[in-house]
Every structure is written in C-alpha cells, then in structure tokens.
C-alpha cells in the first residue's frame, strides 16, 4: 500500500491529496476515493476565534500516524492513504487536516477514512490553542480540551 504523511506550516492544497489518490500504481484497481477535510471553525462557545496555534511532537507525529494507517489497513481493503496536517498558526476557515483513502470499493474507503480520522483525534500528538477576538478578552488564549466523544469514536473500531 502506498501512503503519504505530511505535517506542514503552509496552507493545505486539496489538489495534492486528489492527485496522489488518483494516480493508479501497480495493481491498484481503485473505484472509490474518499477525502475528508477538517476545517477551522470561526467561533467556539465563548465567541469569535482570531486564530489557532497547533503544536506537535515532531519526533512522534509521523510514526503515530503511520501506525494508525496500518491499523486501518488491517481492517479494510484500502490501496492508498494520505494524511496532511497543519501546524503553527491557522486562521478561521483554513483546512487543518486532510485524510484521503483510495480503495477498490466505497465501503472500505469511507470506513477507513473515518477510522483514521477517529484515531488521529485521539492518538496523534497535536495540541490546539485558540486565540479569541472577544472585545473584552482580546488575545485571550485557551488550550482546547479533548472531547469525551473523541475517545468514544475511537473505541467503536476496536
């Protein structure tokens, strides 16, 4: 199986994900490409967000994502996987993460993409801080807490 994992400061180019998945290689007989993108929301429960900063543990990130892809590959018949993830400063409506899967059939592509995303949310070493634009709290900073539902989502694949 072919895979690509890129952690980047620059904006994500969705075309890069599609080009990687669409290029047929070897015995691939892809009939389904699923691409999920996670986008930065412009507000949280406290108000409007100016930006987020995404920190990561560089030496751990790629190996963790590679293990996640391997786990999805054990469960589903997939031929190619791509994960793109931003770090550093990210602005509202920017794409934060892309998970793309190519498979022979759509069932495997949909399910594998969801599984990779669920594992990424609960295992990959990224931490997100929101910087607010509220009039009373300009520049207020808040580390985002993991949602209990993220762990529930991961457990459903075990």
């Amino acid at each position: 199986m072919k895979q690509k994992i890129i952690i980047q400061q620059e904006k994500i180019d969705m075309a890069q994900a599609y080009e990687f998945l669409q290029a047929q290689t070897g015995d691939d007989n892809n009939g389904a490409l699923v691409v999920f993108s996670g986008v930065m929301r412009g507000r949280n429960e406290h108000g409007a967000i100016k930006k987020i900063t995404m920190e990561h543990y560089d030496k751990m990130t790629e190996t963790t994502i590679a293990e996640i892809i391997a786990a999805a590959q054990e469960k589903f018949l997939i031929n190619k996987t791509i994960v793109l993830h931003r770090v550093g400063d990210i602005l509202p409506h920017d794409t934060i993460v892309v998970v793309g899967v190519a498979a022979t059939h759509r069932y495997d592509a949909f399910r594998a993409a969801e599984m990779v995303m669920d594992y990424l949310k609960s295992d990959a070493p990224f931490w997100k801080k929101e910087i607010m634009v509220d009039d009373n709290n300009d520049g207020d900073e808040l580390w985002v807490a993991q949602k209990p539902t993220d762990q529930v989502a991961r457990k459903k694949w075990q």
Binding site: G38, M54, E55, H56, Y57, K59, M60, T63, T64, H85, I96, V97, M117, L120, K121, S122, D123, A124, P125, F126, W127, K128, K129, W143, V144, A145, Q146
Partner: protein, 85 residues
Amino acid sequence: MMIQVRYFSWVREKLQKDRETLELPANASRLQDVLATLDQRGGDYALLKKNNGMLRYALNYRLAKPSDQIKNGDEVAIFPPVTGG
C-alpha cells in the same frame, strides 16, 4: 541514569520550558520514577501530580504508562490529551 524530558501544550507553558535533561537516582527504573523525581522539585512541578489523572506520557515517541521500564538515554514526554484535527 540520564534521560531527556519533553513538555507540550499547557504543561510546557506552566513549567516555562519545553525540555530538560534529568539525572535520575540510581534505583530509578520506571517512568513513574521520572515523575517522582520531578515532583520532589516542588514549585510548578506540583502540577504533574495534581493533574496525573489526565496527563499522558510517551516513552521514545510512543504512548506509555507510568509502570513502563526506562533506560539511560530515553526520551520521556509529558502532555495533556491530544487535540489535533
């Protein structure tokens, strides 16, 4: 035994450092001994014990438990639950 410790997210901010080299007592053998050595320093390091139910650990770039064995030259990381994506 000497090990490297890395801190991330609000743990890094509260300790005001992202890494340090730590010399452990001769009888240290597990990740929990790293935590105990840091706790003995007091001050801001008290947050490690105070939040131990929610903090996560990695040993040589893989998620780890306090009971995991450590050795000279290892890298231990301490951080809150991850929030990527």
